[in-house]
């Protein structure tokens, strides 16, 4: 059996049914732009600040786009039992969840580059290392999506998925160095920052976009990849334990 036919069609269906819907597209456009505007107004900064804000805005766009969409769509399908159809398909659980998460990862990737478009008109992005930015965004999308999967497996109602994802997401905005450097946070909070995967992704983006980063980039890549793998494995284990009763 060609398992990739199943993989591709699950991905395609999710893109058509959930991610490419007008409300999601407009959310993906409005959300990062609103954040950018908010920080500009709040800080009173000039255009020279665009490049410093860009990593945070990109990261937050990925984080919100991926976690909420995946958690909600999977919980919705679980609730109306259409997810059972996928569990009955003769494909491995790993491949199934990989296909379910791929849509969210792609959505996150696209969301990340929405703020880059206006930034390109407002600031000089010639120094940006795109070869580092692209894999970093991909890893942030993967880690955030798997966080969404972890949330989806932990809840049973759609509203719980939203609430539970906010429980993780809002502290991450302040703790992961998106807009405030991690090292400027109170010392007691810093260990918490380094326990969150997004911190490492954002560190890479800061390094690649304006050259300031805390850890060596290879170490950031390694840690966020490790987080992604662990979140995926925990989610698979939870699916086995909680969904295949």
């Amino acid at each position: 059996m060609n398992r990739w036919i199943a993989f591709w069609n699950i991905l395609l269906k999710d893109m058509q049914s959930y991610y490419l819907k007008p409300p999601n597209i407009s959310w993906g456009l409005v959300f990062p732009l609103a954040w950018t505007a908010m920080f500009f107004i709040r800080s009173g900064s000039g255009l020279e600040e665009v490049i410093e804000i860009l990593p945070g805005v990109m990261a937050i766009s990925v984080l919100f786009g991926t976690t909420s969409m995946l958690a909600v769509t999977v919980t919705f399908e679980k609730k109306n039992r259409s997810f059972e159809r996928l569990l009955l398909a003769p494909i491995s659980l790993e491949l199934l969840m990989f296909s379910k998460t791929s849509g969210a990862i792609l959505f996150g990737l696209v969301n990340a580059f929405v703020p880059v478009i206006p930034a390109a008109f407002l600031a000089d992005l010639s120094q940006v290392s795109w070869a580092t930015v692209i894999p970093a965004v991909l890893l942030i999308a993967v880690a955030s999506t798997f966080l969404g999967l972890f949330i989806a497996v932990s809840v049973s109602e759609v509203f719980e998925a939203q609430t539970f994802s906010n429980f993780f997401r809002f502290p991450m905005i302040f703790l992961c160095g998106l807009f405030f450097p991690v090292l400027s946070l109170p010392v007691m909070l810093q260990p918490l920052s380094f326990a969150l995967p997004l911190t490492y992704g954002v560190d890479i983006l800061h390094g690649a976009i304006h050259g300031q980063h805390i850890l060596p980039l290879w170490l950031d890549f390694l840690i966020i990849a490790g987080f992604s793998l662990v979140l995926f494995l925990i989610s698979l284990k939870n699916i086995h334990r909680k969904w295949i009763l």
């Binding site: 269906k13 259409s82 003769p90 295949i244």
Partner: protein, 336 residues
């Protein structure tokens, strides 16, 4: 649909056991849903799994199809050890759950194509199969309407179509006619017969006794997680061949009269089946006149007295001790 029914068995051939279940158990917290059941399903037969709600039918299907893990016991499907490897036989099976679970936002056609793609079927082939099934199930006109706008009967038919689009060797049908209109239920039963004739092995759960009797070759009665009987329909009905049954409807409480009737007519068995219904059973011919007169002498008015053909219902009541009204009233509707 599968067309390998052409395999001709000689009368001496042992039928191949396609599903084998040994000592299967499953509990949810303190509830023992399935308690040490063993049975088998032969290739090409319609096997009925009959029991009231909560008997363990759906839990058993879930374990057989890989949606639930057994606590203990063994499952073999087409030779695959599915207790150890629940996904091993999933390419051979189709499942129609008790509730339609297709995608509400997709059209009927797209739902079928998507379900086929899960089994690795290429685009052209799945489109062809989807078109054929929509025609076969009388859903061509609704093919491009969203599933959410379908009626209950249409949803049920499309769910069955989705369960067979990959031409499974074994089809699990969980309560296929529950809660749908008479015409759709009849059409679904006809489709089940056609699938059987095309060679598909069918595992059917139902709480409609009449439906099981009409469709199945062999039936297992499951009650409180135990299989209390597993036999061919012909063998189950054999003892009833000589039995005569009369159903009397009256204006007074039948429970008060049945004792007196038993004394007056010792050759007959009288049983009050509801407040106004009395059932008379005997292996001799029942003389309706004297019985009716006796009842009327007791001050009750008989509104109807009719002979009925004994059915599987009698066997079920006898074996399980469960009144069939319990089965009929637990879910809406009934077989027609």
């Amino acid at each position: 649909m599968k067309n390998d029914k052409s395999k001709i068995r000689s009368p001496n051939d042992e039928p191949e056991k396609l599903i084998e279940v040994y000592d299967l158990t499953k509990s949810f917290e303190s509830v023992q849903a399935v308690n040490g059941i063993s049975f088998h399903v032969n290739e090409g037969e319609v096997f009925g799994f009959l029991g009231p709600n909560g008997a363990g039918k759906t839990t058993t299907i879930n374990m057989l199809t890989g949606l639930a893990r057994p606590d203990s016991g063994k499952i073999r499907i087409a030779g695959y050890d599915c207790s150890a490897h629940p996904k091993a036989a999933q390419h051979l099976i189709g499942v129609v759950p008790d509730e339609s679970n297709l995608y509400p936002e997709l059209s009927g056609f797209d739902n079928l194509c998507f379900c086929a793609s899960l089994y690795g079927i290429g685009k052209k082939e799945r489109q062809k199969r989807a078109e054929n099934l929509l025609e076969q199930f009388g859903l061509q006109e609704a093919a491009h309407r969203n599933f959410s706008g379908y009626s209950k009967g249409m949803k049920r038919k499309l769910t069955i179509a989705a369960g067979i689009i990959h031409q499974p060797k074994i089809l699990f049908l969980d309560e296929p006619t529950t809660g749908i209109d008479v015409a759709s239920a009849r059409q679904i039963r006809q489709l089940i017969r056609e699938m059987y004739q095309a060679g598909t092995t069918i595992f059917l759960t139902t709480h409609y006794i009449e439906e099981a009797e009409r469709l199945c070759e062999r039936i297992a009665f499951i009650v409180n997680g135990h299989i209390v009987q597993d036999e061919t329909v012909a063998n189950l009905l054999q003892p009833l061949k000589e039995l005569k049954v009369l159903l009397i409807t009256m204006t007074h409480d039948s429970g008060n009269i049945s004792g007196k009737l038993a004394e007056a007519f010792p050759g007959y068995d009288f049983r009050s089946v509801s407040q106004q219904h009395l059932r008379v059973e005997s292996e001799q011919t029942i003389s309706i006149g004297p019985v009716v007169r006796f009842i009327e002498e007791q001050g009750a008015e008989v509104t109807e007295a009719r002979q009925i053909k004994p059915s599987l219902e009698e066997v079920f009541v006898e074996v399980t001790g469960i009144e069939t009204d319990v089965m009929k009233t637990e879910k809406n509707g009934g077989p027609s």
